[in-house]
């Protein structure tokens, strides 16, 4: 169970960071064929996601080894986090699937109804999930790790946007 939660969180974090990188790279060149730039954005986002999440990973490692915290405390907080972020992620992934499946005339509807509004909602969903997870856990170390992890998720796109300037 703990493994499933951790794997789900790591996978979600990586995918989210990659898409943050993609968004940060869109509309930068004006080229019609921007697949190269898109792939670069995905890579940069994922790489930066790994880098900025290192404080959270370090905090967790220290808490588990030096602080004697049990893995179950992290699993429980992660599960709570996932109950909020999971449905959001599933809807966004479904939106991407719909975007891919629709005829070109209707593709923008997936953006207008799901992808656009959910991009706007993303920071609020992450904040809400973090607040609930932090309130749920009695362990300060877990709370600190959750806050650091949330901060890293929200940092990727602004950092990349600044670097593009």
């Amino acid at each position: 169970m703990s493994v499933v939660v951790i794997v789900a969180l790591v996978a979600l974090g990586l995918v989210d960071a990659a898409f943050s990188g993609l968004r940060a790279g869109l509309g930068r060149t004006g080229l019609v064929d921007h697949r190269h730039e898109d792939r670069r954005g995905l890579r940069r986002g994922a790489m930066l996601g790994v880098i900025v999440s290192s404080p959270a990973v370090t905090a967790m490692a220290v808490d588990l080894t030096v602080g004697g915290q049990r893995v179950t405390a992290y699993r429980d907080a992660g599960a709570v986090f996932l109950t909020i972020v999971g449905p959001y992620a599933l809807i966004v992934l479904a939106g991407l699937g719909v975007y891919g499946a629709l005829r070109w005339e209707f593709k923008y509807l997936a953006s207008a109804v799901i992808l656009g509004p959910f991009t706007l909602l993303r920071p609020f969903v992450v904040l809400a999930a973090t607040v609930v997870a932090v309130r749920h856990t009695p362990a300060p170390g877990v709370a600190i790790t959750a806050i650091l992890a949330a901060a890293s998720v929200l940092l990727v796109e602004p950092v990349l946007n600044r670097r593009y300037r």
């Binding site: 509309g27 080229l31 209707f106 923008y108 509807l109 992808l115 509004p117 946007n161």
Partner: protein, 267 residues
């Protein structure tokens, strides 16, 4: 043309556009004037983001689909080239994407025109980089010979241009095309309604990074002209054309009407 920063800010404040005034105050100045380089750079950034938005709205394919139908309706042969002129083309995303997709017949010449030399130069550079057969020129698109040489073999289009014109400028806009005897025109713009304003806000907040883009996106939807205003202006300015706005109802817009065209075909 030099623009005095304080003067421009004051005009915006007088019009109640406090947010726009605040954005303008952030633009670098050279002395009292807005710094030309900074304005040009900002213009390019905004138009690159707009190109990406246009791509998301599938503008190139929408235009290609409509122009393809118009070419059939007009029965223009393939012996002499037919020209497709994009007025106020910005970075020329629409024409460049049409050229890249090859969705329209090869006898169609693609020409983009913009008043802003920085934008048309960048559009030309992007076309060269991607080896696309599109020509871009700077100036007034309706100046005879600049982009439109043979009116009856020319189709004029624009996307997102009409809301930049005041209602009293629309008649002259359509009249200029009628005087050049263009075969047809198709101008896409936002249908003003609560959905488009809300959609513009969401899209520009989610997709645009520049504060000026986010601000102007919503204003564009709010200042867009209704179908009645557009048709009245086109009928007055271009009386020899059969004109209609291809959109759904005001309160239940058709799913495809993200931007709808006013189409005029020479009778």
């Amino acid at each position: 043309m030099p623009v005095m920063s304080a003067e421009a800010v004051s005009v915006l404040e007088m019009r109640g556009q406090h947010r726009a005034a605040k954005i303008l105050r952030q633009v670098p100045t050279t002395g009292a004037e807005l710094a030309t380089d900074a304005v040009d750079e900002l213009g390019l950034k905004v138009h690159r983001e707009l190109s990406r938005l246009g791509e998301e709205l599938q503008l190139g394919r929408r235009v290609a689909s409509m122009v393809g139908a118009l070419l059939q309706q007009l029965g223009l042969g393939t012996v002499t080239p037919v020209r497709l002129v994009d007025v106020g083309c910005g970075l020329g995303q629409v024409l460049r994407s049409i050229a890249a997709s090859g969705e329209l017949p090869p006898y169609l010449e693609l020409v983009g025109v913009d008043m802003n030399p920085v934008l048309s130069a960048e559009a030309a550079r992007l076309a060269r980089v991607e080896n696309l057969d599109v020509r871009f020129v700077t100036g007034n698109a309706f100046e005879p010979g600049l982009a439109i040489g043979d009116g009856p073999r020319t189709v004029v289009l624009s996307t997102g241009l009409l809301h930049h014109l005041a209602a009293d400028q629309l008649v002259a806009f359509f009249q200029a095309q009628a005087e050049l005897r263009v075969a047809a025109f198709a101008h896409w713009d936002i249908a003003p309604c609560v959905w488009s304003t809300l959609g513009a806000w969401v899209f520009h907040q989610a997709r645009m990074r520049q504060p000026v883009s986010r601000h102007d996106g919503v204003l564009s939807a709010r200042r867009a002209h209704s179908a009645d205003v557009l048709v009245a202006a086109a009928e007055q300015g271009a009386p020899g054309y059969v004109v209609d706005v291809r959109e759904g109802s005001r309160w239940h817009p058709r799913a495809l009407d993200v931007l709808r065209p006013i189409v005029g075909v020479r009778g």
